[in-house]
Amino acid sequence: MHEFSLVMSMLDLAEKTARDDGATRIDAIHLEIGALAGVVPEALDFAFSGARLGTMAENARLEVDYLPAIAHCGRCDVTFELDNRYGVALCPTCGTPSADLRQGRELQLSHLEVA
């Protein structure tokens, strides 16, 4: 359940950003989470439902944009989306496994809706 730690970091960052912008409440928090970030959506929602109490985001929506994993094959200079959940990045052209993951690890606070 590392999602709780992630939610605490998220709320710290969101509240600081909102305060710096002169806001008094956060209406929505938008995240971008990579397919290989190891985040379970249900665990994230569960952690958020508890952690938001008493914060500026007490009544906020949590909206998550899940990003596909994308890798690059240096041999073929091809960028491709992983077509499996196992983190295996086989180049569609030459079939070689790639270690060059270009997207999929994201744990990003994208933007806030505040007032």
């Binding site: 970091s9 960052l13 290989l36 295996v88 270690a99 997207q103 990003q108 806030l112 809706e113 007032a115």
Partner: protein, 239 residues
């Protein structure tokens, strides 16, 4: 990447809410790991010329046994200190002390992974001046530790032969980020019907560039290449 949204200077007057409410979008575009990564960077400065490893595996793969043997076998030329994380007890730090390593236990309580701040506090308990190598033995868990940079130079992910050959496929992220993968307990591989070729293929598919070491921390078989790699990486860091 994700859906693009309005820039931060767009102001939307709310309808149906209290007059003057200034609802707006604020762009952030920062990692949730920003704070942790900052502390990890400070740890890196503090570790300076010591080689620092972050070892992750399932509970019971043999991290502590591997560290005990590593500490003993390197003792003639390199001094190793250990930071070890567990949910409860200081049993592992006691074992590592017994092997001759200055050790600090981090008891995480309910927390399933180590974070850079926990390591920063724990390192206060080590005399870094006396050490050449610092090993951070993470909480036994192949999911949660993956995202937290602790300030290490090298990430080492371990599995043992009793855990199944497809472990890298089941926990891809933590294997993908590994500089080295260790397959431990090879002394009992035959007894448990371990399919070596299949395991190596799983590792290669998920993390094709990682160094792979097959060894037994209990018998010492296969330890030499692992120890040699640590010596090489330390020499490389010192330049």
């Amino acid at each position: 990447m994700g859906t693009k949204v309005a820039t931060r200077d767009v102001r939307v007057r709310a309808h149906g809410t209290s007059a003057g409410t200034d609802m707006r979008v604020v762009q952030v575009q920062k990692s949730l790991m920003t704070h942790n990564d900052g502390v990890a960077a400070e740890n890196r400065v503090r570790f300076a010329r010591r080689l620092v490893l972050n070892i992750v595996s399932s509970p019971g793969s043999g991290k502590t046994a591997l560290m005990e043997r590593t500490v003993r076998e390197l003792a003639a030329d390199l001094a190793v200190g250990v930071v070890v994380g567990d949910l409860e007890t200081d049993n592992d730090a006691v074992r590592l002390h017994g092997a001759g390593a200055p050790s600090v236990q981090i008891v995480t309580g309910a927390v399933c992974h180590l974070e850079a701040e926990m390591v920063a506090r724990a390192v206060d308990g080590l005399d870094l001046d006396d050490l050449d190598v610092v090993v951070i033995e993470n909480v036994g868990n192949l999911v949660c530790p993956a995202a937290w940079d602790l300030g290490e130079d090298l990430r080492v992910t371990m599995l043992s032969v009793t855990e199944g050959e497809d472990k890298p496929l089941k926990y891809p992220r933590i294997f993908k980020d590994a500089d080295a993968v260790i397959i431990n307990k090879i002394d009992i591989a035959e007894a448990v019907g371990f399919d070596r070729d299949r395991a190596l293929e799983s590792v290669r598919q998920v993390t094709p560039n990682a160094k792979v070491f097959e060894l037994s921390a209990r018998t010492g078989e296969g330890m030499a290449p692992w120890l040699e790699w640590l010596r090489e990486r330390r020499a490389a860091k010192l330049g």
